[in-house]
């Protein structure tokens, strides 16, 4: 005689099946939600770094256009970048053009992820150029 069929062990009823399935799916979706939040945080940091770089470059370029030197222009860019929550990492001017780079920190917990993704310091970097139209 063989052992009881699997169903017999559970008296043949399916109680609990839907709950298990729902919990599994919920966990999957919540994990997905967590991933979306993480990516969202980086995307927002990236966007804000881009905005900071753009506005800082704009400021520096208008200083240059007004006759200021590169040092003064880059100081202005530094001010704007700092106001935007970013750090000015480099600023060079060539005639009336300014090229600069800023970085912005995403949430602490995401920095290792960014390091793994190729950012040496775990920050998001953005570059911008501004100057009179060619």
């Amino acid at each position: 005689m063989t052992g009881p069929a699997l169903n017999d062990m559970n008296n043949g009823n399916d109680d609990g099946y839907a709950t298990v399935l729902a919990i599994a799916l919920s966990l999957l979706l919540l994990t997905l939600g967590g991933a979306v939040l993480a990516v969202g945080d980086v995307v927002l940091a990236r966007q804000q770094a881009g905005a900071a770089a753009d506005l800082a470059a704009l400021s520096a370029a208008s200083r240059l256009l007004a006759g200021a030197g590169a040092t003064e222009a880059c100081a202005s860019a530094n001010t704007v970048a700092a106001m935007s929550g970013a750090e000015l990492m480099g600023c060079t001017s060539d005639h009336e053009d300014v090229v600069l780079e800023v970085r912005r920190w995403p949430s602490e917990s995401l920095r290792p992820m960014l390091r793994a993704a190729g950012s040496p310091d775990g920050a998001v970097h953005a570059r911008a150029r501004a100057g009179p139209p060619p």
Binding site: N13, D14, D15, G16, Y17, A18, T19, L21, A22, L25, S26, L29, L30, L32, G33, V36, L37, G40, V43, L44, Q47, Q48, A51, D54, L55, L58, S59, S62, R63, A66, G67, A68, E72, S76, T79, V80, M83, S84
Partner: protein, 112 residues
């Protein structure tokens, strides 16, 4: 029994899916207002008077406030986000951008 259980399970799954959708909606709205604040600030820094229309084009239904603090302009674009989920209260998202008023800096600084 199984039917009732499945009903509850489906309901709770629906709630989780709705939350996930809300995260997307919120993120998209935040990106929009940030962008709107950026383009508006860019224009305001150069003395443009189209900051408002630029912002409302970038983030339809948003409202903009430009705060002048010396040579510093703070542009704030706010928008009320309604979620595609019944029962979730709308949330206000704010995008902020800081610039220097380049024109006033020119006037103030003389040689600038």
């Amino acid at each position: 029994m199984v039917t009732v259980e499945a009903a509850f399970a489906t309901l709770s799954l629906g709630v989780v899916v709705a939350l996930l959708m809300s995260v997307f909606v919120l993120l998209a709205a935040q990106l929009r207002v940030n962008d709107a604040a950026r383009v508006a600030a860019r224009s305001a820094a150069l003395g443009g008077d189209d900051a408002e229309s630029l912002a409302s084009r970038a983030a339809p239904g948003s409202s903009i406030a430009i705060d002048r603090n010396g040579a510093v302009l703070v542009v704030e674009v706010t928008q009320t986000v309604a979620f595609p989920v019944p029962g979730l209260a709308p949330v206000v998202v704010t995008g902020r951008a800081h610039v220097l008023d380049e024109l006033s800096a020119l006037d103030l600084g003389g040689g600038w």
